[in-house]
């Protein structure tokens, strides 16, 4: 049986159905639903954001100078990006041009956020999709050291004893 969602997607349960809800290690709430055929190939996939706060509604009639703080709360992981974009949208609407130095400061903010976000996203969020920390602690320190030195030979903590110490402290 196929069910049509209001925004035009089709949920169907004619083949094997796999539902992941909640999807973890993301900001917000999400549900993913896929259908797989007898060869385990995905034939249909629907993802749904399962949270709505209505920030667009709440923003109406507010002081435009405050908009950045509201839009920033769309996501606490990529906060600054929303704030900067909101400020730019307001400036565009009001025909405000900003000096080069202000633009540079914003670029620095944005690039800082990007670097920090890569670290958070990798180590706290998606790394667990391909790293098993419990198994990782049983790895061979010598082999790990060789791998590390192949990638960055001058890294001060790449010797086998340094790697062993890291495994011990977790």
């Amino acid at each position: 049986m196929a069910i049509q969602t209001p925004n035009g997607y089709t949920l169907d349960n004619t083949t094997k159905r796999v539902v992941i809800d909640p999807v973890t290690r993301i900001e917000g709430h999400m549900r993913c639903e896929v259908n797989v055929d007898e060869n385990n190939m995905i034939t249909n996939a629907v993802s749904t954001g399962t949270m709505w706060r209505g920030l667009e509604v709440i923003l109406k009639g507010r002081d435009p100078r405050d908009a950045w703080a509201f839009t920033e709360r769309i996501c606490g992981v990529c906060t600054g990006t929303h704030a900067l974009t909101s400020v730019r949208a307001i400036e565009d609407a009001l025909g405000i041009t900003i000096p080069d130095i202000a633009n540079s400061i914003r670029n620095i903010m944005q690039l800082n956020l990007q670097i920090h976000d890569h670290i958070v996203h990798f180590y706290h969020l998606h790394a667990l999709d391909w790293v098993n920390p419990v198994n990782a602690l049983r790895a061979d320190p010598k082999a790990t050291s060789e791998l590390q030195q192949a990638v960055s030979p001058s890294h001060p903590l790449s010797s086998p004893p340094a790697i062993s110490a890291m495994f011990r402290t977790g």
Binding site: E27, M51, W52, R53, R65, F70, R73
Partner: protein, 344 residues
Amino acid sequence: MKYCSLTAAALGLGPAFVPKIAHAMETKPRTPVIWVHGLECTCCSESFIRSAHPLAKDVVLSMISLDYDDTLMAAAGHQAEAAMMDTIERYKGNYILAVEGNPPLAEDGMFCISGGKPFVEKLKTAAEHAKAVISWGACASYGCVQAAKPNPTQATPVHKVITDKPIIKVPGCPPIAEVMTGVITYMLTFDRLPELDRQGRPAMFYSQRIHDKCYRRPHFDAGQFVEEWDDDGARKGYCLYKMGCKGPTTYNACSTVRWNEGASFPIQSGHGCIGCSEDGFWDQGSFYDRVTDLTQFGVEANADQVGLAAAGVVGGGIAAHAAISALKQAQKKTQTKVSENEEA
């Protein structure tokens, strides 16, 4: 040991408590924690993982057993839900429920769904057998941005839904990382909740206003204000009160603990405080409007009224501005006067 000292200092405990904290971290069984997420932006979790003293990793690996947290756990879907039910079953009455975000109650809770059910149901299930509840951040404590007018989803703070458990509010958007881990350290070390104020916040972190310990306070006292962005006063680091700084009405530890391992806080970077740890801070007018009507208890009057009242009390003849400088003292006297009047 180093972070134990810093944590002891942050908690307002003397050095004698350092070995006690260290002992607790080394020997006590880890406290199971279920950390659920409602309507939120995850900024509380982002703040938490930045804690330097103690390190978030030490909290998660040595102090608590974070058995369920949709933002950090490896499992997803049914596996994740099973982990939560299993923790509730195994540690009935002994786990701590940490809530980030809040439940929307409109449309039977359909604005936030987790595992196919309204979040409010998950919250109630998890709270039923919890020892205590921590309300992380402005969302869980007060409602925050989604509860700002017109609150389209009827987002509701945790203490209005869970009414039969001890609840610790740790407000802020987000709360300071060291305040979050400090609260957990205290609970593990002493096996009890920290002392709470009338609003349910840990007194050790929320008993002073940003303004009370602000390093720009001398400029306020001297009447040196930033009058517009980019003026000479802004370059010299003058007080941001006239630019809308909410420091005088905001109870939080930003001006002492600061952020990112004590690197800075909003006022230090040249922007006023937006008052994010106060109830309903989204609906108190613009963040850039000067605070003119202070609605909290004890500071119901605006600065000029406080000034005038104080001038009256101390016998007049004092310029209103000087009286504003003695704001704290003035409030005390005003309150005394009010209570005297009530008695009379």
